[in-house]
Amino acid sequence: MTLDVVVVDSLVKRYGPVTALAGVSLAVRRGEFIALLGPSGCGKTTLLRAVAGFVEPTSGEIRINGRPMRGVPPNLRPVNTVFQQFALFPHMTASENIAFGPRRQRLSPAEIHGRVRDALAMVGLEGLGARYPRELSGGQQQRVALARAIVNRPEVLLLDEPLGALDLKLRKRMQVELKRLHQQLGMTFLFVTHDQEEALAMADRIAVMREGVIVQLGSGAQIYRNPATRYVADFIGEANLITCQVDASGAVQITPNGPGGPYRMPANGTQQVSLMVRPESVRLGCGAGADHVALPATLKDKAFVGSTYRLYLVLADGQEIAAEPGCGREVDELAPGAAVWVHWHKDAARLLED
């Protein structure tokens, strides 16, 4: 337990009739990089702001280093935030922005100077300390915002969609840098994003949120391979979600009147389930052996996306699935309307209750 630097315990936040957080519990380990992932309005930013101290929870508790945070104002919490639009003070230079926190801690001028210099070096902005924010590019402003937060050596660094304001290329580069910074500092990062790719690229663990609750918490690979619900499967990565029927024996039928598939549901009365299979697991051809599921399909459309073709196929019952079978010649020659067989290894698919 001593490893958990932040503990969120059944946190609820209501704004009048609107529930932003509906009982969130989360334990953040020291030194961990956690991403809070979800669409806008899922409560991820509210959760972050509650940890920062800008949102007073309706009920539940937040403990940082074991200390309850109820009633503790933001300036007295051992956390710092990197804001969405950077929130740099426009009337202060980069150095003055970074020195703002250390000055509040009443450190000696020499100590402040040293820390500011180190922080600037850490984010690769040596020599730009005298510039005003408006004289810096978006990426540089982002780095100043980072430096301004880490210079205080917080227990937890809170990042509120910090890359959202940057263009795609810069965003990718900052992802790598953030990850490097995290390893270098050994600091705990709590990172809010709606971009699943960003979360997968950086976080040790991802908390997928929906409508004020965490629906799944785990490493990116775990969540990608074993999504807990249809919602998570759809949100993380691309997923084919095929609606299936469960017959009396508990066998799952992938297409109506088709043979009972290799999948079995525990007999808990569920009539309908979704079969989740990632496009990259769907192959062309009949497959081999009982470990494969094979279905006839018709090619509806195909698109070249660089490393692979993306095929849009229609199953016999009209459901559409996507496949990414690579760039072989057989795929090159396929034309829309062609009748093909698709298959996947049965372990590549997951049954999800609706």
Binding site: P74, F83, A87, G101, A149
Partner: protein, 280 residues
């Protein structure tokens, strides 16, 4: 759609014509007049006689001092008011209501409002009779007909302008900057001093310039609330035209007043220039 410069120039014709006809031309005549003898001929004698006369200097300093105080008072009252409106009135209709309430006094005549202050500040006015009744004073205070009553009267009229000017800038201060300051360890008071206030300075500067300029040129309030005991430049200038029939001296006084005011506002702007540039 973009305006070509020809189009823009055409659009500007109206305002330029208005400006030339009703400001630049009369102003030129005024300056010319200040350099003329009553019987004709160019001279500096008007300026010499104005600038060598302690009475005029006295009125000028009096005017500037009163205007300075009006500016300070309306800032001290206007800033908290603006802060309250922007940060504590959440509902849009509530804010609109306060704006309307602030503007309403501007729809009534200055004369009526000046007489209102006579009722309040006079020897038998509300202030004195309450203080007497409470036993806080034994004889009525001499508030009316002095610098104090002029300052009160002007600050009261100009306060909405100061408050609205500060409001308009305070509204644009990004709340996340204030949160960032708090997040970095600043108490609310420190966040205000280090972030909110510096960022609202453009509103304060604009408001003070307008209030100062309007105070310097105010005629009605000083003439009613001075009771003849205080002399300010607008009254003095009016007298030159209406009582002593010395339009040349009136013109000279106007030019001197304008020059001094511009000089003061100019140095004020230079004083804040660096900070304003950083904010803007």
């Amino acid at each position: 759609m973009r305006f070509t410069s020809a189009n823009a120039a055409f659009l500007m014709l109206g305002p330029i014509a208005f400006f030339v006809l009703f400001f630049l031309a009369p102003f030129g005549l005024l300056i010319a007049e200040s350099f003329m003898r009553p019987q004709g001929g160019v001279t500096l004698s008007n300026y010499i006689s104005v600038l060598s006369d302690g009475y005029y200097w006295n009125a000028l300093i009096n005017t500037l001092l009163i205007s300075l105080w009006v500016t300070v008072v309306s800032f001290l009252l206007g800033y908290p008011l603006a802060y309250f409106i922007v940060f504590h009135v959440r509902r849009p209709w509530g804010r609109r209501l306060i704006y309307v309430l602030l503007m309403t006094p501007l729809f009534t005549s200055n004369i009526v409002r000046a007489f209102g202050w006579i009722v309040i500040l006079g020897r038998r006015g509300i202030v004195n009779s309450s203080l007497l009744a409470l036993g806080l004073i034994n004889t009525p205070l001499d508030i009316l007909y002095g610098k104090l009553s002029i300052i009160i009267g002007l600050a009261y009229i100009l306060l909405p302008i100061m408050a609205l000017s500060i409001c308009s800038v305070l509204q644009t201060v990004d709340r996340s900057l204030i949160e960032a300051a708090r997040d970095l360890g600043a108490r609310p008071s420190r966040a205000f001093i280090a972030v909110t206030f510096p960022l609202s300075l453009p509103g304060v500067v604009a408001g003070s310039i307008i209030v100062f300029a309007l105070s310097v040129s105010a005629y009605v309030i000083p003439s009613i609330l001075s009771g003849g005991r205080e002399m300010v430049m607008p009254i003095l200038i009016f007298q030159q035209y209406a009582a002593t029939f010395r339009p040349d001296i009136g013109a000279t006084l106007s030019v001197v007043l304008l020059a001094v005011t511009l000089l003061l506002i100019g140095s004020y702007l230079i004083l804040f220039e660096r900070r304003l540039r950083a904010v803007g």
